[in-house]
Amino acid sequence: MAETTGIKDYIKPENLVYKKTGIMTDNILHYCPGCGHSTMHRIIAEIIDEEGLQSEAIGVSPVGCSVFLYHYIDIDWQEAAHGRAPALATAIKRLCPDKFVFTYQGDGDLAAIGTSETIHSCNRGENFLIVFINNGIYGMTGGQMAPTTLPGMKSTTSPYGRDTRQMGFPLKITDIVATLPGTYYVTRQSVHTPANVRKTKRALRKAVQYQKLNKGTCFVEIVSNCPSGWRMTPVEANKWLEENMLPYYPLGDLKTPSEETSQKTNNPE
């Protein structure tokens, strides 16, 4: 019998092209296949790792599909009530000013139930980072309409499509926070293609570095997908995202620190 090569023959250092990020845990991600949350988790873990922030980071996870974020990234975590992550982060950063504090929130969490906390923490210029995952839908509860759901888009609570006369227009909360003097860096990115993943990683690294300056809130929106809630395959979902979400939520920086509106430190010292 002819000898066959087995998998062991390939596991050699010289063949290594990809490896697990050091501070991702071994827990199996619970996300649906193709979901942007998993990609974004990895990017955050890589940045924390590469920037050497593990021992300084305190993350706040939301209520939403990413509620178990604390299972996946090996740092200290607080799990907030739905929409309240920025309130927690406000206190964490004010009481522990040398820590790197960030929240991770979905669009229902950040732009519906938590709108007040979002606006006011950004308005006070709290010195933490907000990572905002906009998938246009409530993933965790089974695909209901979110404040960000596109006009005409179907969800379980807009089964005939979002009728803007009845249900209002999609809320561009990122545009709103960019107008507030308290925000320092505001950007909108996506993770639906490898090129966008790289751009997002660059933007997130910038946000993390800006955050260290304590000059106001950094806000990174990720236009993401929800294949399950959208009732699409992952490939269809990413195509749909590009054709429908991006025209409404165009990618790019909304506010960069060179602008004069950027606020000074709110540290009383």
Partner: protein
């Protein structure tokens, strides 16, 4: 450092005591009759002296969640409000109880329901003592009846909160918050330099990551957690019951009253005794844990027990459970922001003695 004697409002005493107790942070939103607490702290500006953070939040919802964030970092944090604001905080308080975080919440109660009145009441007893938010949990509830206790219970509250990793509520009312009395302030305690090992302070290589959460989707593990909480509450019931007795030794007519009503009832006891009625007062200092056993014992000698409270009869239910049908128990108290007078209490007692 020496203790210091001052003339202060109950609300101001809370604020000053928080600074002196070594609090790390205060988060609040204005509401009558307790806005002096935030105002006092803003003026005192303790950030410059002790490093204590004081922040006016955008709502009570935000304030209590800031408390969550601070408490989860192992810090000594508090918030204060009055009834409508405390209602808004209930979700957050439930999360804090579920995550087993220590913190202090002060409720300077006003009459309700709804926007109600800004005058004093004791109508938030159920909310404070039976849970308040969703899920199976209890706060440790302290009921001050003087400006002195408003100050003292801040330090005590923090100690109990950290000892049991449980939120503590000071259940006061508009009368105690607003009245001025002499108060001995404790010396300054330094803010703690260490934090408990469960706190989120950044994961060091020497330890596992700390996760503060109240979420557990596995029913067996959630039930196990519920049992753990029950055990904690049982330990609290065993060790932390506090009450004060006033002429109870031979009392045939026992008033049970806390806070402002207890002040009123002290006078009622004197009036009744002057009229030859052997009255006494038991004042619960902790409302959870409730001094049930002591009330049960005192009921052995009592002919009538009156639960006197500025509500439609809430503590009454705990008194009834303590007495277990052995003696007639009645409720008396004014509502709507009206403070009961001592004479009214005695008149009501006499009516009941005559079988009215």
């Amino acid at each position: 450092m020496e203790r210091e004697l001052r003339l202060m409002k109950g609300n101001e005493a809370v604020a000053e005591a928080a600074i002196r107790a070594g609090a790390d942070g205060y988060f609040g939103y204005p509401i009558t009759p307790q806005s002096e607490i935030l105002e006092y702290l803003m003026e005192a500006n303790p950030y410059q002296t002790t490093g204590m953070v004081v922040l006016q939040a955008e709502s009570e919802v935000a304030a209590i969640n800031m408390v969550y964030g601070g408490a989860a970092c192992g810090k000594k944090v508090l918030t204060t409000s009055s009834s409508p604001g405390i209602s808004l905080m209930q979700e957050g308080i439930s999360y804090i109880a579920g995550a087993e975080l220590p913190c202090l919440v002060v409720n300077v109660v006003r009459g309700g329901p709804g926007l109600g009145t800004i005058q004093p009441a004791q109508s938030d007893y159920f909310q404070a003592v039976k849970g308040g938010g969703h899920g199976d949990y209890h706060l440790i509830v302290l009921a001050p009846s003087s400006v002195q206790e408003m100050a003292d219970f801040v330090g005590l509250g923090f100690d109990l909160a950290f000892k049991y990793r449980n939120p503590v509520m000071i259940l006061s009312d508009g009368a105690i918050g607003q009245m001025m009395e002499k108060v001995w302030l404790s010396p300054y305690r330094e803010r703690s330099k260490t934090v408990p090992d469960w706190a989120t302070t950044g994961k060091l290589p020497s330890r596992q990551r700390n996760i503060i959460t109240s979420l557990e989707l596995n029913p067996e593990r959630q039930e196990e957690f519920n049992r753990k909480l029950i055990n904690k509450y049982n330990e609290i019931k065993e060790k932390e019951v506090r009450y004060e007795e006033f002429q109870c030794e031979d009392a045939e007519y026992l008033f049970v009253a806390y806070g402002t009503s207890a002040r009123v009832c002290q006078k009622s006891v004197q009036i009744a005794r002057n009229e030859g009625l052997k009255a006494g007062l038991l004042r619960p200092v902790t409302l959870f844990p409730f001094p049930s056993e002591r009330i049960g014992t005192l009921s052995g000698r009592a002919k009538i027990i009156l639960s006197v409270e500025m509500s439609s009869g809430q503590m009454l239910e705990d008194v009834l459970l303590s007495v277990n049908g052995e003696v007639p128990v009645y409720h008396f108290g004014r509502m709507g922001g009206i403070v009961t007078t001592p004479e009214e209490v005695v008149d009501f007692l006499k009516l009941k003695i005559m079988g009215g």
